[in-house]
């Protein structure tokens, strides 16, 4: 038994981070076991997000990862994985309706420019040229032409499929209880079923659940979770290819290849939402979807007759400072952390997976992720 459950790397969490890391590890010749608590691959935020593949609007600490992914990985991803991930690199508009909004957008733009990203402010006329369907209420936007979107469900499953084909062993329905150190190194992963898995490296990429798992080896990632919601319309005529967001964060989303619009948003009470959904499938609140609809219609009046066919909810694991915790933990050898993506992990997932695989095999990354290290949290004074 012990022999069978042994691999070079054991990854906890078969979300897109776990699946992508598993894929890039197998590509580098490593044996991998991926353990998933739920019955489904990619059951958390990986399948529940709005599909943004953005650089704009990101914190400078994670921007290098986003830029690296969009330059090096996303363009060839569908071909590499053998599944159409529906990636489109046709820009991101972050919309504003008031002067206050424009101020926010200008701030974000300046910070991104400083990191070498091509983002610029566009006025009402320019916005209309990029997207003629927008309402006249929009007075300006930030525009990042190299941003885009992809299908998160398919991308996640495509990484899983390819990793599985390359020999990664995925086990679902296996929630993890503890990690165990062997002679000073995190090595064993003990499941609630009492099954034991052993790896030279153990990567924890289990979303919010990571916190409980990490504490068994004395590591704590300061994060909380919020229940966010998305909705999808029936297929519409092809309208526009950009990824959208707003300065006010009313909603975000895009039109998928299928023709449906996928929009995410909030009601404002997410922090305290109740979740009555069954296990593995968080429940929606009664007031969020109507609120998202009102938000969308203010920007896209012509979508008012589009029928909503489905809504869903998903937890995001929000880090204390809004960016993920990635990499080794000093003094806890064998452990790799990749969690607290704070609601914007999908777009950087291929880059995270690829860099984590490098970190585990080469001992270092090629992209600077030092700003995302575990040890960064300090008191405010």
């Amino acid at each position: 038994m012990a022999v069978v459950n042994k691999a070079d790397v054991v990854i906890i969490g078969a979300g897109i981070i776990g699946c992508a890391t598993a894929y890039y590890l197998t590509k580098r010749g490593k044996s991998v076991i991926v353990l998933e608590a739920s019955d489904n691959i990619g059951n958390g935020g990986s399948s529940r997000n709005g599909g943004g593949v953005r650089q704009s609007g990101r914190d400078p600490r994670e921007l290098p990862l986003a830029m690296y992914g969009i330059k090096e990985l996303w363009p060839g991803l569908s071909e590499e994985l053998g599944v159409d991930c529906e990636y489109h690199k046709e820009g991101n508009l972050r919309l504003g309706k008031t002067d206050k909004h424009l101020e926010i957008l200008e701030g974000l733009t300046k910070r991104a420019n400083a990191c070498g990203l091509d983002v610029r402010m566009v006025n009402a006329d320019e916005v209309k040229k990029i997207n003629p369907h927008l309402s006249d209420e929009v007075i300006g936007a930030s525009w990042c032409p190299t941003d885009g979107h992809a299908n998160p469900m398919i991308t996640t499953l495509a990484f899983y499929r390819k990793a599985r084909m390359s020999g990664a062993r995925f086990i679902t329905g296996e929630p993890i209880k503890t990690l165990r150190r062997v002679k000073g190194r995190v090595k064993e992963v003990i499941a609630e079923s009492k099954n034991v898995y052993e790896g030279e490296y153990v990567m924890v990429a289990a979303g919010y659940e990571s916190r409980k798992i990490l504490e068994t080896v004395g590591v704590d990632v300061p994060m909380h979770q919020e229940l966010m919601e998305c909705l999808v319309t029936e297929a519409q005529q092809k309208m526009f290819p950009q990824m959208l967001g707003t300065a006010e964060a009313d909603f975000y989303g895009h039109q998928s290849d299928h023709g449906s619009f996928v929009f995410g948003g909030s009601s404002g009470i997410e922090m305290n939402n109740k979740d009555i959904g069954p296990k593995n499938s968080p429940g929606n609140s009664a007031i969020t979807a109507p609120c998202i609809c009102r938000g969308i219609m203010k920007y896209f009046p012509e979508l008012e007759d589009a029928k909503i066919v489905r809504t869903w909810a998903g937890y995001i694991d929000i880090c204390q400072d809004g960016v993920p915790v990635l990499g080794f933990v000093d003094d806890v050898p064998g452990l790799v952390v990749a969690c607290a993506f704070s609601g914007h992990g999908f777009g950087i997932a291929p880059a995270v997976g690829e860099q984590m695989a490098r970190l585990i095999t080469d001992g270092r990354t090629t992209v600077d992720i030092s700003g995302l290290r575990y040890g960064r949290f300090k008191a405010k004074i």
């Binding site: 959904g277 429940g283 109507p290």
Partner: protein
Amino acid sequence: MKRYEVIVVGAGPSGLSAAIEAAKRGLKVIVFDENEKPGGQLFKQIHKFFGSKKHHAKIRGFKIGENLLEEANYAGVEVALNATVIGLYADKEVVVRRNDQVFHYKGDCIIIATGAAENMVTFPGWTLPGVIGAGAAQTMMNLHGIKPGKKVLMLGSGNVGLVVSFQLLQAGCEVVALVDAAPQIGGYGVHAAKLSRTGVPFYLSHTIAKAHGEDCVTGVTICEVDSQFKLIAGTEKYFDVDTICMAVGLSPMSQLLKMSGCLMEDNPKRGGQVPIIDEFGETSVPGIFAAGDVSGIEEASSAMIEGRMAGVCVAEYLGYCTHEEKNESLAELKKDLESLRQGMFAPANRGKKITKTEEGIEISDSLLKNGFVAEQEIERYPGVVHKSGIHPVIECTQNIPCNPCQDACPKGCISIGENITNLPVVEDENVCINCGMCVASCSGQAIFLVDEDCGDGSATVTIPYEFLPIPEVGEKGFGLGRNGERLCEATVVSVKSVKAFDHTNLLTMRVPKEYAMSARFYAS
């Protein structure tokens, strides 16, 4: 947000029954239904129901619907139509679409009675226009007055398939065949016999191999299947049809229960994904109940009782009746439900092969395989007797919970006894007065009045007749056998339609006396 003590979702038989019981006890109740008319499936049911007198036996389904609505109005139930429940959220919050707006309601209790949806099976061509559900066919015919097609093949020999096939005939469609992959007929034998005697052929151990047509159905090929349900090459049969009806079961529409966090199970015996409920319909979430098909596929009569049970339970839950009162009501309802769940078709007997009746009489093999009781088999049943003069002949050969015939006869010629599933017995001593009440009362159309020897070499046979046009007295046609075969010439000697017969016409035909015990239908 408006608050009700009870929110019922679905104004079908179980939902309305639940609402009635709750409102009767003083609760403020609203029922939401997405349709423009209440009643669920009841208003599509133009046939007479089985059961006991207490449970609407011999009353037609739509009339039961009307009665229920009247009872609901009287009890003060608010029924909101064109009101689509789009979600059931935390703390029993219900969001409803009404016209161009959505409304939030809060229920202290929720009763989900959303019913079921039709299953489909696939075969090449199953997505062609013209392939429809049997329930859809019923909606077209009986609610909208539209003939689903001219020539129809029915797949599925359960009660739905049998009943809808008969209604298709009544609507003037030709039913070219009734097909089922199972080796024997699934529904009531009396329903099958009604079809057989009109000439509809049954193909058991057969399934659809292919629907033909480019833009719509123009024909169908069926094929025999082996015991593993695999098609047997070389057994194909082709029919010219424009419609294929599927009556292959129902699946509970339990999504609202699932989304509200009720524990669910996948239970093939109950038709699919159903909530885990107690005996009286309460789910794992206190105050949320389920009643009717949504908690397990049965039929309307039991759905109504389940609804009443849930209604009583919410009344007690919210303090409108005592625990003792609740238990008393429930005990009685439970007894009613149990009486309906008896006999050979009881849920407990599903999947079992039953070879003998409760009386120990062998079941007709021909009935199960061909849809009619063979001539050499019919004499073994207690309703089939020979007497001089007019007398009832009851071709009721399976134990089903139904007994209106016993009360229908003013002379006590028919007895079933205490046990509602007993086969009816024709009493020897009592004398039939040819009133016809028994014929009209039999929901299975299995009772005939026969004068085996009129003295002139002829016999008369009175049959229930629910087709249009009604043959004229004096008309000459043919007496058909149980299998629909033309046996002999027949003359219509009388057609009686009185109010008490409730739209069942009694057609009396004169046939040569040797056909007295075999002519069971008339065709002009």
